[in-house]
Symmetry: C2
Subunit: 293 residues, 2 copies
Amino acid sequence: MDLAQYIISKNVLIEKRLNELVPERDVPYRSLFTAARYSLLGGGKRLRPILTLATAEMLGGNHDSAITPACALEMIHTYSLIHDDLPCMDDDDFRRGKPSLHRAFPEGHAVLTGDFLLTHAFDVLVNDCSLSSEKKVRLISILSRSSGGDGMIAGQVMDLESEGQLIDLSTLRFIHNSKTGAMITAAIEFGCIVGDATEKHSSILRDFGRNIGLAFQIMDDVLDVTASKQKHGKDIASDVTNAKATYVTLMGVEKSQEMAYNLLQEGVQQLKQLPLDVSLLTRLAESLVIPRI
Amino acid sequence: MDLAQYIISKNVLIEKRLNELVPERDVPYRSLFTAARYSLLGGGKRLRPILTLATAEMLGGNHDSAITPACALEMIHTYSLIHDDLPCMDDDDFRRGKPSLHRAFPEGHAVLTGDFLLTHAFDVLVNDCSLSSEKKVRLISILSRSSGGDGMIAGQVMDLESEGQLIDLSTLRFIHNSKTGAMITAAIEFGCIVGDATEKHSSILRDFGRNIGLAFQIMDDVLDVTASKQKHGKDIASDVTNAKATYVTLMGVEKSQEMAYNLLQEGVQQLKQLPLDVSLLTRLAESLVIPRI
């Protein structure tokens, strides 16, 4: 199957399901749902949910039971962007080519909308009729760990505290692995649970997830200094403006690209250990890194 | 048993368990845990966890399996206070007699600490070894619903949007029921699940929870105008400063107190329908309303 077509068709499914999971509501507090839909719908690469769907499909899992867990990951990702953009955090005025949520809505609503999407991710998982209680518990455990105080939030804290500081490569790697890598690995793990992967296959796929998660983030650093605002949808090189250390500031563009390539190659080699058709996941991983240079 | 002694002994247990669930950590992002502990430990009435413990005990449930769910509720309550105090929300400089979290730590840390405690509440529930998968799913479902977009967060949104507005009593009741009542009812429901209550008993206890939740919030409004900063630990009548409608501004102190008494009486009558020793829960409910006048 053509990769671009695959991504487009999955994006349609994800958008439709997100639209069902966070519908417009005729309630006095409807602004909460309007704000949530503003940030959640109609944009974004849907990287995490697509990885969940592709992993589950590769394993032969039921596609229907992968879509809601995939959307829960996108809710967590979206909440983290909303809070990350706040004036007291990265203070970004644009996101995905339009004003960030606290610019389009009052700032208090942006905080609450983030809180809502965070909580709603757990709500849609726990109420998903297509999942057994055992699977719900495993998915929720992965979600709370990867997005929590030793996962994504740990990375955010380190990121905040590193602003204007000289940090070394291992600290930067920790920040990226926690802030971005943990949720990308979680997306793969979600696919493993829905697709009933063996423990051995899950372990290989987790390693693959960690490698492409870091490769993706390094390329994001590269993109931050090379892409235009029009293409990227946010202020150019905002990380540089915020005096944040990135792979590019520590290693330069070329070395960063090389590292991303190497991580990608390592991930691809890991996939080859699986007795499965890994072509789709391989091409997805490549698309995260290669065409963005 | 003496009620004051009961509350003190439970507070010791809750503090001990919270201390275990959010320990000091020797990690580069330790400030996250320091901030979480600043807000979570050493203060607060622990109303919600005590209600869970008392309900479970009344039903004859295992005390050991009630303590972690009880603490999860306190984490949600604490995160909501942290975010509610932010400058873009209620802008409160004090909480529980000391500087609010965004005054003691950078504001970005306060946002992230709230996010952490929210996420951690689900994490400790899903990883609690004393609970079956079925019970975890039921507890998480109650937690995500009562603290989510049709529960506590709905109330916060309505509260924000009502600032400086003329609102009627039914809107105010909705705000209080969502913002405070939902989590107090959840505390009772948590006790029902841990204590294996029948559906009939759970239904009676939920109604009791709704009544005392609202009674408690009405008395909180009364306290906001009558108590001193020293006693209450936050700016006097901050709701009045923020031009928020309260039961007191809509009905006056005396009528508000009367309404709180009536709700308490209704709740106490509901408890009497149960073929159980309801004396402790009755006295707890009374203590929430009566001695605060």
